[in-house]
Symmetry: C3
Subunit: 338 residues, 3 copies
């Protein structure tokens, strides 16, 4: 997989300062790249790496061209351009179409000829698997699921019945989609299970990280819309709706019936309480606990700063009495005014 | 699966205002229900939905009967009654007894004739699987496990050796039960593993959510008692004991040797530090970090409120110096008293 | 598996007060041990258990010998010594070498004759599995992986392509190693995936708990060094480096490109933000959110204390206005000075 610098310049709409016929076959960081690899420069911290790079070409902005000792691919958004080149030079592995002989496939399912089904995978009744879909080894696709064109399920993905997966979706190992939501009602001291009758709809171009769990809806469906990216070990409760192009980082917890808007960024290890609404274009920083709906775009935070343990202990003792402290201050103010 | 409104009224001990012979076959929300479906009304926010519903019947309380345009099923606890009807009209899927030909079953195990063992599942030596148990596809049940009557393990559940599962238990995909606890002792800078010699006992009527992990005990057993409900991605350390009918929401972390009482509710993303005791009837709200035992029933909280990022930054700077602030206040008070 | 007390005393370098020929075959707590079992005493809370123990021998320190009613194994670090005895008397289960007939093994892989490959496991092309390795049931080992001598993968472990595992490593069920890191760049409102071209290197003597996920590196590799111990449901982002003998407790979240030093202890449910550096010998207590690099060894904390709900509500209202409170105090101080 080789491309000339000329071809690459055209692809990323960059100005090439250098030899258009030189061939490259990979990407690497400035300090490790060989003359057959492309690198990028966006962070002035790495100036010395740029000046000493052995890369075949460096993608960078107009301001930085003078520092570059090798061929330059000059453009406005060097990092985005770099990612496009990295994808070009590292295409997804190709899979031979076909069903592995160890797979167990129900006769009523419909599997496109161009699809690939891995070893020891189970495909249940009435499943529909469309063109160029890859289902890895050890997956379990229960009855009535649909997986649309060009989606890839890595090894050991679990889909409960009737889950719908869009096009070009990537689902990583250990993901569970469509498990029962945590729907319980207390009946004289014992928990009665609320049947979870909805399912899960995953849009196009979604990616879901390893060991994440997405529950099916209680009556309506849980919905992950187009372009949403979800990291590892994220918990998505029943009836959650996540708007287009929102990104959710590792180990976040989205409780049941939360509705998140478009283009939001939910930080790692943050948690959003049940039934809240978050509008479009909200950023929630890591480890924040969200307990009220957010009605205005912007950046929100709610994590505590970590400090040296002795300082923290003293501050936490005071925090436990913060209301009393505030009353003291108000009393002092009144006294001083009088 | 059809029932008459008369049969349903008897089942949930409701007064039927309407035609006892009308048949229904499902449940739905007020706004989507057809005249063959039952709905419910408990939240005055949805009054307009009630007034315009096309449901076959609505379960509601005496106070709300006048607003209902269709047959009414009137009772004291409409939501509990609705859940009972939902379960009645949506029975669990039936499974054909038998062992899938692709399953690997050790000859020394004992599997009831009424049990169902899924595709590509492994059943180890000396396992006992009792009446009407369903073990889904791709499960691994290691040596010496016991699964009691009417329990259901969804696809890809992992039981380590000697784990005991009670009756009517539901375990979701990706759950691991009986993995080694995090037992380490530091031996001159290196970690020495403490052998984990106990196992895990799961009582009756327990439900465990997707990708949750429950560690085996070090010497004694980890114990989940009858009626406990655990959500997805929960971490249960070794030697934890969870009392009857306690519910634990998603991504909670219960560290080793914690003892939780009966009828507790542990909020999502909360964490309980090792060796603590929580008495019966304690509610811990979401994202709370519990670092002391709780000796009195009640509601406890420990999460931080999320606010707009700039406000949060200023407050966090102050919080880091809260002890100094408190000292200033006390000095001011002394001065003002003098 | 029986040992004489004399043999055990030699192994742990203890002074035996009692009969060197007595045989023992297990370990147990003071209150449950029989006369063929060894127990230990380190916590004065259990003095009455010691005085009434029926153990065959008790491991304890010189100071406590007088209280011991049975044979004593006296040494300086009784708990470490106990763990060594527990390991001696509870050796790892032995596995018969060989490949289960239901396993799917690519012909280009190289599997040592002494290795054991479980049922329904998949081994991809160019995998190398060395001496005495145990790969449990239902594992998926993708192309180009290496598993070095004496490592044990429990059931249902997933290794993506080219992951390298050292010697004597233990990996628990549901672990995913080598999934794509959460590498995204925003390209005019849509997320562009950054190809994840590195892999994961796991050193010797590492243990990884159930359902933990370790992402592969973007360009360079993610690296878990020798002797690191990781608990259940931990999230390790791409390009993280974890230094020798560091321990990470359950449900911790280590974001991308974090570098953690040697001999650190990272508490359960804590989270470390991306790109931070933590030096050697740092302890971070549970549920702390780390948002700055830590440059000095020591103990650090950042969790909030959980209190009774009404107290917490009042304090949180004040906390939201802490900056204003602090300004009031400073104004009062100025006024009082004047």
């Amino acid at each position: 997989m080789e491309y000339s610098l000329g071809e690459i310049a055209r692809l990323i709409n960059a100005e090439l300062i250098g030899n258009a016929d030189d061939l490259v076959n990979g990407v690497a960081s400035l300090s490790t790249a060989t003359n057959q690899q492309v690198s990028f420069f966006v962070n002035s911290k790495f100036q010395s790496h740029l000046k000493n790079t052995g890369a075949g070409a460096v993608i960078l902005s107009y301001d930085d061209v003078d520092m570059c000792p090798v061929h330059s691919l000059v453009c406005k958004e060097p990092y985005v351009a770099y990612v496009k080149v990295a994808n070009l030079l590292n295409p997804l592995p190709e899979y031979k179409p076909g069903i592995h002989p160890s797979a167990v496939v129900d006769g009523s399912s419909s599997i496109a000829e161009s699809a690939c089904i891995g070893a020891n995978t189970y495909i249940g009744p009435d499943v529909e698997i469309k063109d160029n879909v890859f289902v890895g080894h050890g997956c379990i696709i229960d009855s009535g699921c649909l997986i649309d064109d060009n989606s890839r399920l890595m090894a050991n993905v679990n889909l409960y019945h009737k889950v719908k997966i869009g096009k070009r979706v990537v689902i990583h190992s250990g993901v569970v989609i469509g498990s029962d939501g945590f729907g319980l009602v207390n009946d004289e001291g014992r928990w009665l299970k609320i049947p979870q009758l909805g399912t899960v709809q995953i849009g196009n171009d979604v990616e879901i990280g390893a060991n994440t769990a997405v529950d099916r809806g209680a009556l309506d469906d849980t919905r992950i819309e187009d372009g949403v990216k979800i990291d590892n070990l994220v918990q998505i409760g029943h009836n959650v709706i996540i708007g287009e192009n929102t990104a959710i980082a590792g180990s976040a917890v989205i409780a049941g019936s939360v509705v998140i808007g478009k283009r939001c960024m939910i930080g790692g290890a943050s948690a959003i309480a049940g039934h809240l609404k978050i509008v479009d274009d909200v950023i929630i920083t890591g480890l924040s606990g969200v307990t009220n709906s957010i009605n205005k775009p912007g950046k929100y935070s709610g994590s505590m700063t970590t400090t040296e343990n002795m300082t923290w202990r003293k501050n936490m003792v005071r925090l436990r009495h913060l209301d009393e402290l505030a009353r003291k201050i108000n009393a002092l103010e009144d006294k001083n005014k009088a």
